[in-house]
C-alpha cells in the first residue's frame, strides 16, 4: 500500500466510517432520547410499583400496629438511593413509620394527599394508599429525587459517548482494514496503468486479488495488456520489416499528419523519424502536387487509391521528383481513416525521361527532315524517271516514224540492205520503247500503299484478252477453266501480272506452235493459287529464280523478244498484293506459272492490308 493514502482509500474509509458513525450516533441518540422521554414515566412506574409493594406489605404492620415491622419494610427502600423519604401514615393521617428513621421534617409532605404523584422541587412525590379489604388503612408517601436520575442520565450519556468513541475507534480500525479489500485491487490496477503509461511497458500484469467484479476487471485489464503486447510485437515486427524497404513508406492521417515514417523515408527525405512524426507531410516536404489536393482526396475516397507524381523538397533543400502511391486504409467506423503512402525517387528517371523526350524530339525532327529529304528525293526520282521515260519515248517515236517514213517514201530507191538497216533501226527503237514501258510499269508497281479488293479474275482475264489482239485466236488460245475463285488483289497490279504472264506464254513457244494457255485456280488454306499452264519451251529448273530478276533473261531476246523485266514486275506486283509467284515445269513440256493470293472470305473482305515489301 502506498505510504500516502490515495483518494480511493480515503474515500472507502470515509464511507465506512461515516456509515458506522451515523449508525452509532443514530442509535445512541435514539436510546438517549428514549431514555429522556421515558425516564419520568419509568420513574413513576417504578416508584408506583415500589409503593404498591411497600403499601401491600405495610397493610399487616399497619393493621397490627407493628411499627417496627413497618419501619423494617420501609428500610428496604435503602436499596433505592434516589428515594429520599418514605412515610407510612395510619388511617388517622398520623405518621406510623418513616424512612429514614430520622426523617428531616423538611421532607415530610405538607399535606396528606390521596393516591397520585406529581413532580415538585426536583423530586417525584408519590402517595400510595394502603388498602386492606379495599379499605384504606393507611397511606404511603414516597419522595424520589431526581439527582440520582440526572446523575444516571449523565452517566448514561457519558457512557454512550465513550462507547461512541470506542466504536468510532473500532470503526476507524475496521475501515482501515476493510478499505484495503476494495482499494487494493483498484490501487494495483491504477499503479499498473500509471507504470504502463509512463514506460509503455506492456509486459506488466496486475495480480488478481479478489474474485468479484474487481477481479473481473483485473482479468480484462490483463487480457488487454496481453493483446496490446502481442499487437505491439506484431507492429514492431511489421515496422521492422517496413524499415527494411528502401522505398519511403509513410502513414498519414486524413489531415496529412505523419503517423509512421520508415527508414526509407528518412533516407529519401533526410528527416528523421522523430522530426517527421506529428508534422504535416505536405508542409514538411513542401510538396507540389500535380492535381489539387481536394481532387486527390475525392479519388482516394471513391477508389481507395491514388497514384501520381509530386515534386518534394529534401531536408537539404534539394528538389526531387517523386512517384507516389496512396492507399486509403479503411478503418472501422469510429476510428479515423489513414493513408499508406509509398514514395519512390524518380528524379533521375524524370531527367532521363526528359532527356529521352528531347532526344526523341530531336530524332523525330531529324527523321522528319530525312524523310522529307528522302521523299523529296523519291519525288525527284519519280519525277525524273517519269519525265525521262516519257521524254525518251518521244525520240523513239521519231526514230520509228522516220524510219518508217523513209521506208514508205523512199522504199523504191533503197536496196534490200538499206531496208534491212531501217528495219533494224525500227526494231531497236521499238525494243527500247518496250523497255521503257516496262521500267515505268515496274516503278509504278514498286511504290505506294495499295488497297486490296476482291477480284473477279474471270472478268479481268476477259478484259486483258480482249484488249490484246496477240491473245486472240488464231495467234493464241487462252482457255479459262471456270469458275475461278475470288481472291484479294489489286486490279491494276493483277492486270499487269496476268498480262505479262500471258505475253510470256505467247512469246516463248517453239516455232510453228500455237501458244495455248490454260488458266485455272485452286483454293488451299485460305489461299488461291492461279495456274498458268502453257505449251511453251519450258524452263530449266536451274533458272527458276533467275527469270524473276530484273534483266534475268534466259532465252535470247533475239529469238523470243521480251525486255527481261516482265517477270520481275510480276513478282513485285504479287508481293505487293501479299502473294507470291513461281514456276514449275509442265510434264508435257512447257511451263506452269503459279500465282498465290489470299482467298476472299467474309473476314478479309475489303481490308486495308499493308502490302509486303519484298
Amino acid at each position: 500500500m502506498a505510504p500516502r493514502q490515495t483518494s480511493i482509500q480515503k474515500r472507502v474509509r470515509a464511507v465506512i466510517l461515516l456509515a458506522s458513525v451515523v449508525v452509532l450516533f443514530v442509535t445512541a441518540a435514539a436510546f438517549v432520547t428514549y431514555e429522556a422521554i421515558t425516564f419520568r414515566t419509568r420513574l413513576v412506574r417504578n416508584l408506583s410499583t415500589l409503593a404498591s409493594v411497600i403499601a401491600d406489605n405495610s397493610a399487616a404492620p399497619l393493621a397490627f400496629k407493628n411499627k417496627a415491622v413497618a419501619e423494617e419494610i420501609l428500610s428496604a427502600l435503602k436499596a433505592e438511593p434516589d428515594i429520599e423519604a418514605a412515610v407510612l401514615f395510619d388511617d388517622n393521617g398520623g405518621v406510623f413509620a418513616t424512612y429514614p428513621k430520622a426523617l428531616p421534617p423538611a421532607l415530610l409532605p405538607r399535606t396528606l394527599e390521596g393516591a397520585g404523584h406529581h413532580f415538585r422541587d426536583g423530586a417525584l412525590i408519590l402517595f400510595q394508599p394502603v388498602l386492606q379489604e379495599n379499605k384504606v388503612v393507611g397511606s404511603l408517601y414516597l419522595r424520589n429525587s431526581f439527582q440520582g436520575l440526572y446523575a444516571q442520565l449523565w452517566r448514561y450519556a457519558v457512557i454512550v459517548l465513550f462507547v461512541l468513541l470506542g466504536a468510532f475507534g473500532a470503526a476507524l480500525l475496521l475501515s482501515s482494514v476493510l478499505q484495503s479489500r476494495i482499494s487494493e485491487p483498484i490501487l494495483a490496477l491504477t499503479q499498473a496503468a500509471r507504470r504502463i503509461t509512463a514506460n509503455r511497458d506492456y509486459s506488466i500484469r496486475v495480480p488478481k486479488l479478489t474474485e468479484d467484479e474487481l477481479g473481473v476487471l483485473t482479468d480484462a485489464f490483463n487480457r488487454m495488456l496481453l493483446e496490446t503486447q502481442e499487437n505491439q510485437a506484431r507492429l514492431g515486427e511489421q515496422a521492422r520489416l517496413l524499415d527494411l524497404s528502401t522505398d519511403a513508406i509513410i502513414v498519414c492521417d486524413w489531415q496529412g499528419t505523419v503517423l509512421f515514417w520508415n527508414n526509407g523515408a528518412e533516407e529519401l527525405y533526410g528527416w528523421s523519424r522523430s522530426e517527421a512524426i506529428g508534422k504535416r507531410k505536405h508542409e514538411l516536404l513542401q510538396t507540389i502536387f500535380s492535381e489539387p489536393l481536394e481532387e486527390i482526396a475525392k479519388i482516394l475516397e471513391r477508389a481507395g487509391r491514388w497514384a501520381g507524381e509530386l515534386i518534394q523538397t529534401r531536408r537539404d533543400g534539394a528538389h526531387m521528383h517523386v512517384s507516389t502511391r496512396w492507399v486509403r486504409d479503411p478503418a472501422p467506423s469510429n476510428t479515423p481513416a489513414r493513408i499508406l503512402i509509398t514514395d519512390n525517387d524518380i528524379t533521375l528517371q524524370k531527367q532521363a525521361e526528359d532527356l529521352m523526350r528531347s532526344e526523341a524530339k530531336r530524332l523525330d525532327a531529324l527523321v522528319e527532315q530525312r524523310t522529307a529529304t528522302l521523299q523529296e528525293t523519291i519525288g525527284e526520282l519519280e519525277a525524273f524517271s517519269y519525265s525521262i521515260s516519257h521524254d525518251m519515248r518521244a525520240p523513239l517515236r521519231a526514230m520509228q516514224g522516220y524510219a518508217k517514213a523513209l521506208l514508205s517514201d523512199y522504199g523504191s530507191k533503197l536496196d534490200a540492205e538499206a531496208k534491212h538497216y531501217l528495219d533494224r533501226i525500227f526494231r531497236a527503237a521499238n525494243r527500247l520503247d518496250l523497255l521503257i514501258q516496262d521500267v515505268l510499269a515496274y516503278s509504278r508497281v514498286a511504290k505506294g500503299e495499295i488497297e486490296l479488293h476482291p477480284i473477279d479474275l474471270e472478268r479481268l482475264i476477259d478484259d486483258i484478252v480482249s484488249a490484246n489482239p496477240e491473245f486472240h485466236a488464231p495467234q493464241a488460245r487462252v482457255v479459262v477453266e471456270k469458275p475461278l475463285h475470288r481472291m484479294l488483289g489489286h486490279d491494276a497490279y493483277l492486270t499487269q501480272c496476268v498480262t505479262n504472264l500471258l505475253s510470256n506464254a505467247v512469246k516463248f513457244v517453239p516455232d510453228g506452235v500455237v501458244p495455248e494457255i490454260h488458266i485455272r485456280t485452286e483454293a488451299i488454306d485460305g489461299q488461291v493459287r492461279v495456274w498458268f499452264e502453257d505449251n511453251g519451251i519450258g524452263i530449266d529448273p536451274l533458272h527458276y529464280e533467275r527469270i524473276f530478276q530484273i534483266f534475268g533473261q534466259v532465252y535470247p531476246e533475239k529469238k523470243y523478244g521480251g525486255t527481261g523485266i516482265g517477270l520481275a514486275i510480276v513478282r513485285k506486283a504479287a508481293q505487293r498484293m501479299n502473294g507470291e509467284v513461281g514456276v514449275e515445269s509442265n510434264v508435257d513440256g512447257g511451263s506452269r506459272f503459279w500465282l498465290i493470293l489470299k482467298e476472299v472470305n467474309y473476314d478479309n473482305h475489303e481490308s486495308r492490308v499493308t502490302p509486303g515489301r519484298g
Binding site: 404492620p61 393493621a63 397490627f64 379489604e133
Partner: protein
C-alpha cells in the same frame, strides 16, 4: 371515617380498655389475613364468625369493630359462647381468660377443625398454645403465631401477617 367510627365506638365501649379495643381490631384483622378452606363456609356469602369463648372482654367493641368491615369479601359476625362445643362453627375463636392448660385442652378438642384460635398470653407461648397469642410488651400488643398449628387446621396465614408477628412453634 376513622374518626367517626371511633366516636361512635367511644361512648359504647367507654369501659372497654384501649387494649381490648385494639385486640378487637386485631381479631377482625386476623380474619383479613387468614384463609379458611372452602368447606369452612356454607355459602359464598356466608360470614366469617368470630367467637369469644368465656367472658367477653370486648363488650360491644368487637361488634363495633367489625361493623361495616369485610374480610375476603365476607362480613364478619360475632358470637359469644360459654362452652367449646358451641364454638365448633366459629372461624376465629378467642378464648378469653384461659390458662395454658385450658387453652391446650380446648384447642385439642377442636382437633383439626379450621378454627383460628386466639388468646392472650402473659409470657412466651408454647407450641401447644393457640395459633395466635396476644402479648403485651412495652405498651404494645405483639402477636405470637404458631403457623404449624394453623397449617394443621388447614388455615393459610398470610405471610405478611407472619412477618408482623413473632413466630413460635418452629
Amino acid at each position: 371515617m376513622v374518626i367517626c367510627i371511633s366516636f361512635v365506638i367511644a361512648p359504647a365501649s367507654a369501659q372497654v380498655s384501649k387494649e381490648y379495643q385494639l385486640k378487637a381490631v386485631f381479631l377482625w384483622r386476623l380474619a383479613q389475613f387468614t384463609e379458611w378452606p372452602s368447606d369452612a363456609f356454607e355459602r359464598a356469602d356466608s360470614p366469617i364468625v368470630i367467637c369469644v369463648l368465656g367472658e367477653n372482654p370486648f363488650d360491644g367493641a368487637l361488634n363495633a369493630a367489625v361493623e361495616g368491615e369485610t374480610a375476603h369479601g365476607r362480613k364478619m359476625t360475632i358470637q359469644q359462647h360459654r362452652v367449646i362445643e358451641q364454638a365448633r362453627s366459629c372461624h376465629i375463636l378467642y378464648i378469653a381468660g384461659a390458662g395454658p392448660r385450658q387453652a391446650r385442652a380446648l384447642t385439642a378438642s377442636l382437633g383439626n377443625r379450621s378454627v383460628l384460635t386466639v388468646r392472650d398470653v402473659d409470657g412466651p407461648a408454647s407450641a401447644y398454645d393457640t395459633m395466635v397469642s396476644f402479648i403485651t410488651e412495652q405498651n404494645r400488643i405483639k402477636l405470637l403465631i404458631n403457623p404449624k398449628a394453623a397449617m394443621a387446621a388447614r388455615l393459610v396465614l398470610d405471610p405478611r401477617l407472619l412477618r408482623s408477628a413473632e413466630i413460635i412453634g418452629e
